[in-house]
Symmetry: C2
Subunit: 143 residues, 2 copies
DNA sequence: ATAAATACTTGATATAGGCAAGTAAATTTT
DNA sequence: AAAATTTACTTGCCTATATCAAGTATTTAT
């Protein structure tokens, strides 16, 4: 296979996939959260008590933008922050009770959405699909 | 493989890929065009003389939004429109000379960007990658 | 002839995202 | 140990992206 074909395959995928799966829409699965917000909540769930900086090691957002999103999520009682003991520049961020529930709801909705997208496939086909996605992850990000 | 693992694989990919490849950024590859604008130009190149409706069969944007983007691209001399003969509600849209050049530039930049992303891989790995992307395209969209 | 559907436009508004400057605390340099 | 630099986060200001609803003109269906 020539490089031009390889690039062509990837670009074709890029054009189609992101849009078809709704990742460009302003609100994520009509939840009232943006894709970025839902990613932040996912990361806070994963990392437990964390910091804006640590969140941004994953997301690489504009710092000011991230700060504002966190502020908003705090004012909506989804997140809380407390000043760190050892480094007074830092705020420890975590999910509130309500935040945990909301995150789980988003998680569930996301899974249902993906389930819908692959529902027309047989189980072997779904497995093949997962295998291809895993393959890409491994090749691009080494995991 | 269980369904939950399959869904997990896909969601993991979704979380990582879109962001890593820069498809969420406001301007596409620092070109001054948005991702959506560059998709529109790509489609007009592919379809030749076409219409807003036909573009939107691919992109599914808000009609008003698409109308405005086209308007902007026309005022920047990237696109032109002329009233259709047979259906007077319809405008035929096409690339101007300048539009053709701009589209080619975007095309080239996009390819270079993808080339960069896969540059750390060996050719066999790149082929495997392309194969995985093709596989996903086939399974999800039947091509 | 009337109603309904299609193709496109416009107004108003929300939200996402980007850039730059600024504060405060920690770390490094000299 | 004072000065300079870096790090963590915030705020102001702005633009672009996207959404929703209503409106016009033309075509198709009843």
């Amino acid at each position: 296979m020539e490089e031009i074909e390889i690039i062509h395959s990837i670009r074709k995928f890029n054009r189609n996939y992101v849009r078809s799966i709704g990742l460009l829409e302003k609100t994520f699965l009509n939840t009232g959260y943006s894709l970025t917000e839902s990613h932040i909540l996912y990361i806070v769930k994963e990392q437990g008590k964390t910091t804006a900086t640590d969140i941004n090691k994953v997301l690489n957002l504009d710092e000011g933008y991230l700060s504002r999103i966190i502020k908003k999520l705090i004012s909506n009682s989804i997140l809380t922050k407390e000043k760190s003991e050892d480094d007074k520049r830092v705020f420890k961020i975590s999910l509130t009770e309500r935040g945990i529930k909301e995150q789980q709801k988003l998680d569930e909705l996301s899974s249902v959405s993906v389930a819908g997208i692959i529902s027309h496939l047989s189980l072997p086909e779904q497995e093949e699909l997962a295998h291809s996605f895993n393959n890409i992850m491994r090749l691009l990000y080494g995991e």
